[in-house]
């Protein structure tokens, strides 16, 4: 009976350990077909250094808690395997532990690393069923309706922006607020803040990386809202870039040669600097930061369920002889919300880097269309309700 290996890869998400739980549970349930289950310590680096964690030696109560523990508990790395000697070390580790099933939990970078690893293992006639469990907060994996990790990050930004929208209205003084959300290449998370606008507590403007960011246009947009309301709340994805493809945070970096620290917060420092030069009122920059990828207290119930489900589905697939595939979700309907499991070919999807469809972005390129709600609402789940008062004067 051969053994299984589970690897966490790339950046953490809120529910990646929930997928680990799904893999572990399914492996245990198939103890007649799969021997031991190992987890690589710090991702691929654990394979290179032959450091595999023996999952079944863990306390089962603690393993249950994986479902609600954020951020890649087995560790991850940014190391990219490219040379032959690394591959040989990996093969040695796999052989030594007789790994016949490999579950790789990651995003686009992982898919490409996985493709290369499969090609190498094939070239060496090493028999191993490799299945990818998707994971990303950016939602930029191709071949899937949405990836585990995204719904929880989306819920985090939607709730947080609703709350901030309440906070910024407290004073009767001018205020421009820029909220930066994750999304290096896609605007899915920025777009998710549209959910908070349903009861009038959302952003006035939303900027995504899918369309070029024009500074003059941005200032004009802000001015328009500010002159009407005396306030403006703009949500900006960290990955917005100009028409030449240059990231806006690179502008900040150039303006900060002598103060490198202002370049580290993404796009907010640059935009707030810009706005302070143009508007006399208070300008506030808020980076929602790492909490988007580790905020278990705002995890979306659908996400928790699907993350575990896809972990289990990967094990089932591998036991059925599947290899070189990613387990995916296809949406059957949005209302009622229904998805079905499927498999996507790693070779086919690993270079897709899926963006948000442009049809979701308004003609003005500064907001998201209502049609996006069909997609996002069932993923994020019900949001808190807040009082909406008429404020009639006596």
């Amino acid at each position: 009976m051969r053994n299984a290996l589970y690897i966490q890869s790339g950046g953490p998400t809120t529910v990646i350990n929930t997928s680990a739980y799904g893999v572990i549970t399914a492996c245990r349930e198939n103890s007649d077909k799969i021997g031991r289950l190992y987890c690589a310590e710090y991702g691929m680096v654990g394979l290179l250094n032959n450091r595999l964690i023996d999952v079944y030696s863990e306390d089962s109560t603690q393993l249950e808690l994986l479902q609600q523990t954020p951020s890649s508990i087995f560790g991850s790395c940014r190391y990219h395997v490219t040379d032959e000697s690394d591959y040989r070390k990996i093969l040695t580790t796999l052989q030594q532990h007789d790994i016949g099933y490999l579950f790789y939990n990651g995003g686009n970078g992982t898919l490409r690393a996985c493709r290369d690893l499969i090609r190498y293992l094939d070239s060496r006639n090493y028999d191993c069923n490799v299945v990818v469990v998707p994971k990303t907060v950016d939602n930029d994996i191709g071949g899937i309706d949405h990836s585990p990790g995204f719904p929880s990050a989306a819920r985090h930004v939607a709730i947080t922006v609703s709350e901030l929208a309440h906070d910024i209205r407290v004073y009767d003084t001018g205020l421009i607020t820029v909220v930066e959300v994750m999304g290096r290449n896609t605007g899915w998370l920025a777009a998710a803040t549209l959910l908070s606008s349903r009861d009038g507590n959302g952003p006035d403007l939303i900027y995504t990386p899918e369309v070029p960011f024009e500074t003059e246009r941005f200032l004009k947009d802000i001015r328009g809202v500010y002159e009407q309301k005396g306030k403006c709340l703009a949500v900006v994805a960290e990955g917005v870039r100009d028409s030449g493809g240059k990231y806006l945070f690179e502008y900040g970096r150039e303006n900060a040669v002598e103060n490198p620290e202002i370049s580290m917060g993404g796009v907010t420092p640059y935009l707030t600097m810009l706005l302070r030069g143009e508007f006399p009122c208070k300008v506030r920059g808020i980076d929602l930061g790492l909490m988007q990828r580790c905020g278990m207290h705002t995890a979306a119930p659908v996400d928790l369920r699907e993350a575990a489900q896809l972990g289990g589905a990967a094990v089932t697939a591998a036991l059925n002889g599947v290899s070189g595939k990613m387990v995916t979700l296809q949406r059957v309907s949005s209302s009622p919300y229904l998805v079905k499991e499927a498999l996507a070919d790693v070779e086919e999807i690993c270079d897709l880097d899926a963006s948000m469809p442009l049809e979701y972005i308004t003609d003005d390129k500064n907001y998201i269309r209502e049609s996006f709600l069909d997609y996002i609402e069932p993923l994020v789940g019900e949001l808190p309700k807040y009082a909406n008062l008429k404020m009639n004067l006596a």
Copy 2:
């Protein structure tokens, strides 16, 4: 039958509207004794401009939702009433609406404003029972075990820092993280992050404004942890200052004459700049920001209950003829958690600006003693549990 007025004052908190709900409910229940209930629009500014919101014209379902709506829904201001002409305008507003009961919801600034207002109304023989409902995230009000607003902010920072502590362990590379929390003059919120350390996922170092911040000592502390663990997570209250009483964020401001934006984020930009000059590893600064005062999704159940309770208690007190008092909570026991309502004299407590007792701070001045848990645990409530694995290698 005379009318009542409710005023939100100072900075918002997560549960200040829950106190509003308590006041509204109690006034309604006493409709045989209190006529109309008004809320000042934008706090004291609403009194000056005679803009009072007619609460009973609101939909009752929406008023119910006040219990779960963050951040001073009726608005607040930073305006300080000092001159006679302002007081005359206020008196005119009170007279016009025949206000016999005034409920002032705020912190230390509000207590002082309230003291002055009471003195003025007394000097003009205007009969009005004025009762303060306490509110602060900093927990710096005297004469009370803890103020509504603080437990929820404390819960927010405790949960968020636990989650961040998971996130920063993901990579096997050096990392120093500085997390800035609110607390201009007190370290209560910084100290509350001790709760996250109970399962090994908390900060390594905690700095509060109660003891002078020594830069050399700070760097030595960080180095000590970093050399042992390869990582360091330090929590710093925004209000830390040097032995001369100068705020650390003022240092940042001086270092940022040409880039004023780095001075706006409090103490984090300065400390991260400092650390980047001293350590070769990645240094990350995270400001938990406004979410500490508006994060309704992390509100502490005890806080929600007590915020409403004290709103109601203020109405009861005013109806009993009490004036010039703040409704307070005195702790009877921590286990089981039991508090009793009491009244504190506004004149006596308005200048106290309560700090955290020094006995809670370790001799090294860089951490909080376990004895603090007795105080904070019942306020914050049960925290999420996370998996704690042994990580045995195969």
